[in-house]
Symmetry: C2
């Protein structure tokens, strides 16, 4: 049994005996239709199981009322919150959201962005890690006049708005908290060379050390061995675990560590416990993000909370503005504050 072709407006019109336009008016609930006609049309719509063809509609209307969100790692609650905030904001304005994931490479970034653009989304929010190939492609897209907003990642372009947490300040405060507690040998876990948010966190760490006149010991700053772009996001527990192992094997290990995010911190905690050291008595630890599980680690994790919901909301609002008016001349930036949440992994 071949799949029967979906009914079109004309099919409905033919069975009812009206013009396609009349059916369109019923479907879209605009224009004048008599009650009698409307009912007959509605009947036919139901019977033939009509579903309007989005491509045709989008083509005619020259907009899709859909925006695309490109995420790197969706298993992080950070992404979830972000996505939800974006969806809520859009939904309130009648837009829908398609999410694409690009977990590994520039190739996937390009594929994801390409797929969305090919479906004529009205705009794009990009929250992946920056990478050369992906950024070049994104630049092309921007220059073909697709409205774009980026979240928490580098992308300098006059037509692209930017929203992020103040990762520098967050890193600074996390480190200062440890310094305030008397720590002088403080490690950093999860350093990367790419210009993402964790680089800012590392800079915050360095800034705090500098301000408190604590010399930087490069051996205390550790990152994944592989290029970060090769590592799927949720394996960062592994990075934390391995990084901590390396720090513990030093002749003079740190008394406190700041991990680039909570997953990394959790991996590090495992390594610490395996060495039969106590948290925070022997080694204190601070994470970043405040994922829901942070209250459930043993001990509960001190961490820096990001305003994820607000990030998503702002990004969506800026994008909608860009879509509505073409008159935004300048790149707009929002850098939001984050909040240190002190739990038992440090005190």
């Amino acid at each position: 049994m071949p799949r029967k072709k979906p009914a079109t407006l004309s099919d409905i019109a033919a069975t009812v005996g009206v013009a396609p336009m009349t059916v369109s008016r019923v479907v879209n609930q605009n224009g004048y239709v008599s009650e009698r006609t409307r009912e007959r049309v509605l009947q036919a719509l139901k019977e033939l199981n009509y579903r309007r063809n989005g491509s045709a509609r989008n083509l005619k209307r020259q907009c899709t009322e859909t925006i695309g969100l490109v995420l790197g790692d969706i298993s992080n609650p950070y992404s979830t919150e972000l996505a939800n905030a974006v969806r809520e904001t859009l939904s309130a304005r009648g837009f829908s959201l398609f999410i694409c994931i690009s977990e590994h490479s520039a190739k996937e970034d390009i594929a994801a962005i390409g797929a969305l653009v090919n479906h004529s989304v009205d705009g794009l929010i990009v929250a992946t890690r920056s990478n050369k190939g992906g950024d070049e492609y994104l630049k092309e897209i921007v220059e073909s006049n697709v409205p774009v907003v980026v979240i928490g990642r580098d992308f300098q372009h006059a037509d692209v708005d930017f929203v992020s947490t103040d990762n520098l300040l967050g890193g600074f405060e996390a480190t200062r908290h440890l310094i305030d507690l008397g720590h002088r040998r403080i490690g950093f876990i999860g350093a990367t060379l790419s210009g993402g948010s964790s680089l800012k966190r590392l800079q915050g760490y360095l800034k705090a050390l500098e301000q408190y006149k604590i010399p930087v010991d490069e051996r205390l700053v550790t990152g994944p061995k592989e290029a970060i772009s090769e590592v799927p996001g949720y394996s960062t527990e592994k990075i934390g675990y391995e990084g901590m192992k390396r720090l513990l094997s030093l002749p003079n290990p740190p008394t406190a560590v700041f991990a680039r995010n909570d997953f990394t911190a959790i991996g590090a905690m495992t390594a610490i416990k395996e060495s039969n050291l106590r948290i925070p008595e022997d080694i204190a630890i601070v994470g970043f993000d405040d994922i829901p599980i942070a209250v459930h680690t043993a001990p509960a994790l001190t961490t820096v909370r990001q305003p994820m919901h607000l990030l998503g909301q702002l990004a969506a609002e800026m994008l909608l503005e860009r879509i509505k008016t073409d008159e935004i001349e300048e790149r707009r930036e929002h850098i939001l504050n984050c909040e240190l949440i002190i739990r038992n992994s440090t005190v």
Copy 2:
């Protein structure tokens, strides 16, 4: 500065001085085009920053080579793995993937499915929790001939394939493992009345008790107080925590618990530790899913691993088959085995 309209095939054709069809042939790399013409066209494409209009193309071709995936809770690594497997499988066949999330309600389910269908996706994979409103809408969609596959959720329909883990067996084996260790008072955390996968896990639990002639004590089976559909996915640590608190307050608390998933188990572990009880000596605990963090809990969590990647892959393959041929008469079902991973939370 008004946003200039994107260039069309005809624009390119006009600047080069050829027919639009020739440009189309260059863009799509099919048909004959002389080397000279091709180069001139490519030049113009680049200069005018041409990007083809997906809506027009999809309309003409009557297919989009895109499929939609509706997920409930994306913050669970389970979803991530699933989504990745689906994407990989599709990508190998030239399809792209749009993900929609519907975290809370039937309304959002409908919105998500609707958005995807309105964009004329070629098929749909639905992995949300079953609910009345959503299911009714999904039925309409299926009956308007959109190919659909569901993952790990109830949906009986002749035209809808189904793939899932054997949650019943998983629940059975988790419970039997506890029984084998000598436990007789075994609790269940996270029971729900809706017909999702966790119901099957509960049934597996009950089956194991029955088989080993252990009487069921209803007070040992606990679930969230609110209707499950109101609870965002990642707060299941909370459900686990609260459920365990309730079990611990019983006059005769269990010596082991089986939690409906790893997040719930993690919440339960927190509650156990707060009561100064030891895991597994005082209370043993088993989770479900084997999320990456399960090795990092203290102690490492015994759990039931789902073949998430395979689930996604199978779902995608079945869907692609349905899209290609209309001759699949029967609902197809794949129920995959899961694997008990024994760690330190039980032994």
